[in-house]
C-alpha cells in the first residue's frame, strides 16, 4: 500500500518487511524512497532495527550449549535410531476394521426376520470373539503380526571432552542390575564417553573439568564406554559408594578394553 496523504507513513508491517529485505505491500524501491525522505519513518525503522538487535543479543545469551555436545555428528546415528523404532503392526488395524464390519452387520440384523436374525447374531458373536482376541493381544503387547517387531537397539549418545590434567575421574552414581562400564585406552587425542541406553532410558551425564559423572539409577540397565587418550596417565573409577579403583593407562596394551560389570562389587 502506498502511503496516502492522510496516512503518509509506513506501517510497522512495511517497515519490518523492508528491514528483512522482502518485497511487502510496498515495492522495496518505494519504501526506500519514502524512508529517505521521511524523517519520522526513518527514525521508526532505526528504532525497530535496534530493538531487534538488542533482543537478538539477549537471545544469544541462551546459546551456552554447543549443538555438537548433544547432537550426533553424523546422520548415521539418526539412521540407527530409525532402525531401533518398533514397527507398526497392520494386524491391529485389520482387527479394528473387522470390528466395524461386525457392528454394521449387527445394526442391519435388526431389520431381518427372526430365524435369519438369530443366525446373523451367532455369526457376529463368533467373529467378535476373534476380534477381541486380536485387540487384546495388541493391548497386552503380544505379537499378532506374522513377523515379530525388530528388537530395540539401544540409543547411543557420545560426549566428548578434553581432560585438563593427566588424571581422569569417572564416577557412576549407583550399581545397577545390568550393564557394563568399559575403559578403552586409545591413541585418539580426546576422551569420549559413549552412553548406551535401552529405549526410553535417559540418565544424566555431567562432564566435569577432570572427568565424568553418570547419575545412573540403581534400576537402570545402561552401559557406558569411556575412550581414554594416552595423554591421561591415571583413570580414577568409582561406582556408587564403593572404593575408587585406579587404572594406569600404561598397563593397557594398545587398543585394550577393560570391562567392569556395574552389578559387581569390587
Amino acid at each position: 500500500m502506498i502511503p496516502s496523504a492522510g496516512a503518509p507513513h509506513l506501517s510497522d508491517d512495511d517497515l519490518l518487511l523492508h528491514l528483512e529485505g522482502s518485497a511487502g505491500a510496498l515495492l522495496p524501491s518505494l519504501a526506500a524512497a519514502h524512508l529517505g525522505s521521511c524523517e519520522e519513518c526513518g527514525r521508526r525503522a532505526e528504532w525497530i532495527r535496534r530493538r531487534a538487535g538488542a533482543l537478538d543479543a539477549r537471545l544469544a545469551e541462551l546459546d551456552w550449549m554447543p549443538p555438537e555436545a548433544l547432537l550426533p555428528r553424523s546422520f548415521a546415528e539418526v539412521r540407527r535410531r530409525q532402525a531401533a523404532r518398533p514397527r507398526v503392526r497392520p494386524a491391529a488395524l485389520s482387527g479394528l476394521r473387522r470390528a466395524a464390519v461386525i457392528v454394521a452387520v449387527l445394526l442391519s440384523a435388526a431389520l431381518l426376520v427372526q430365524p435369519v436374525r438369530a443366525w446373523v447374531l451367532d455369526w457376529a458373536g463368533a467373529r467378535w470373539e476373534e476380534v477381541e482376541g486380536m485387540l487384546g493381544a495388541k493391548r497386552s503387547g503380544g505379537a499378532v503380526a506374522p513377523t515379530p517387531p525388530a528388537p530395540a537397539e539401544p540409543q547411543q549418545t557420545e560426549y566428548r571432552f578434553t581432560p585438563e590434567g593427566s588424571e581422569l575421574r569417572l564416577e557412576v552414581a549407583s550399581p545397577q542390575p545390568r550393564g557394563t562400564l568399559t575403559v578403552w585406552v586409545t591413541g585418539e587425542p580426546g576422551a569420549v564417553l559413549e552412553v548406551i541406553e535401552p529405549g526410553g532410558e535417559r540418565e544424566p551425564v555431567w562432564v566435569l573439568p577432570d572427568g565424568v559423572e553418570i547419575r545412573n539409577s540403581p534400576s537402570g540397565t545402561g552401559s557406558y564406554r569411556l575412550s581414554v587418550p594416552r595423554t591421561v596417565r591415571l583413570v580414577r573409577l568409582r561406582i556408587g559408594d564403593e572404593p575408587s579403583a585406579m587404572l594406569r593407562t600404561s598397563d593397557f596394551r594398545p587398543g585394550e578394553q577393560r570391562i567392569f560389570p556395574l552389578r559387581e562389587r569390587r
Binding site: 522482502s22 525497530i48 541462551l62 547432537l71
Partner: protein, 165 residues
C-alpha cells in the same frame, strides 16, 4: 530428499532454535533427531523444507514438555555443577550469567507458543512469509504478530532503545 545434507546444514540451527524455545538441551537434541527421522520416514512434499523442520521440531518439544521440568530440577539440585563440559568460570559471573539466562527464558515463556515460535524463527533468519506458513496464518498479519511479540519481550526484559532525533 537429501536428508544427510539437510542434517548437516540445519541440525545445529534447529537445535539452537529449539533450545531457546524450550530451555532444555536434551529435549531439544532429542527433538532434532526425531524431526529428521520423520523427514526420512514421511518424505514431506514441501517447498520449504527448512520451515517444515522447524514446525515439526516445535510440535515435538511442545508434546514432550514434561522433560523440561526434569532438567530444571536437576540443575537446581546441583547448582555447582555445569553439564557437558563447560568449565565453570568465576562464580559471581557464572551466577549473573545464569540469572540473565533465566530472565530471558522466563520472558520467552510469557509469550504464547505461536508468538515465541515466530520471534525465534525470525531470529534464525526466516522471512515473515516463511514464518506465516510455519505457524499456519495469513502472512499479512505476521508483521503485527512479530511487532507485538518483540514489544512484549522487550518490555519484560526492560530493553529501552533510544534513537536520536
Amino acid at each position: 530428499v537429501d536428508a544427510e545434507r539437510l542434517y548437516r546444514e540445519h541440525a545445529p540451527g534447529l537445535f539452537r532454535y529449539l533450545f531457546r524455545f524450550c530451555g532444555d538441551p536434551e529435549l531439544a537434541a532429542d527433538a532434532v533427531q526425531e524431526t529428521f527421522l520423520r523427514l526420512v520416514e514421511r518424505k514431506p512434499d514441501e517447498d520449504q523444507l527448512r520451515g517444515w523442520l522447524f514446525r515439526v521440531g516445535t510440535n515435538l518439544v511442545m508434546e514432550r514438555g514434561r522433560t523440561q521440568r526434569r532438567r530444571l530440577r536437576l540443575l537446581e539440585e546441583n547448582p555447582g555443577r555445569v553439564p557437558y563440559g563447560d568449565v565453570p568460570g568465576d562464580p559471581a559471573e557464572e551466577l549473573e550469567r545464569k540469572e540473565r539466562q533465566r530472565e530471558v527464558q522466563e520472558a520467552l515463556a510469557r509469550l504464547s507458543p505461536r508468538d515465541r515460535m515466530a520471534l525465534l524463527m525470525r531470529a534464525e533468519g526466516f522471512t515473515q512469509r516463511e514464518i506465516a506458513e510455519a505457524v499456519d496464518m495469513n502472512p499479512k498479519g505476521m508483521g503485527s504478530v512479530l511487532s507485538r511479540a518483540q514489544a512484549k519481550l522487550a518490555a519484560v526484559l526492560r530493553i529501552n532503545v533510544e534513537v536520536e532525533p
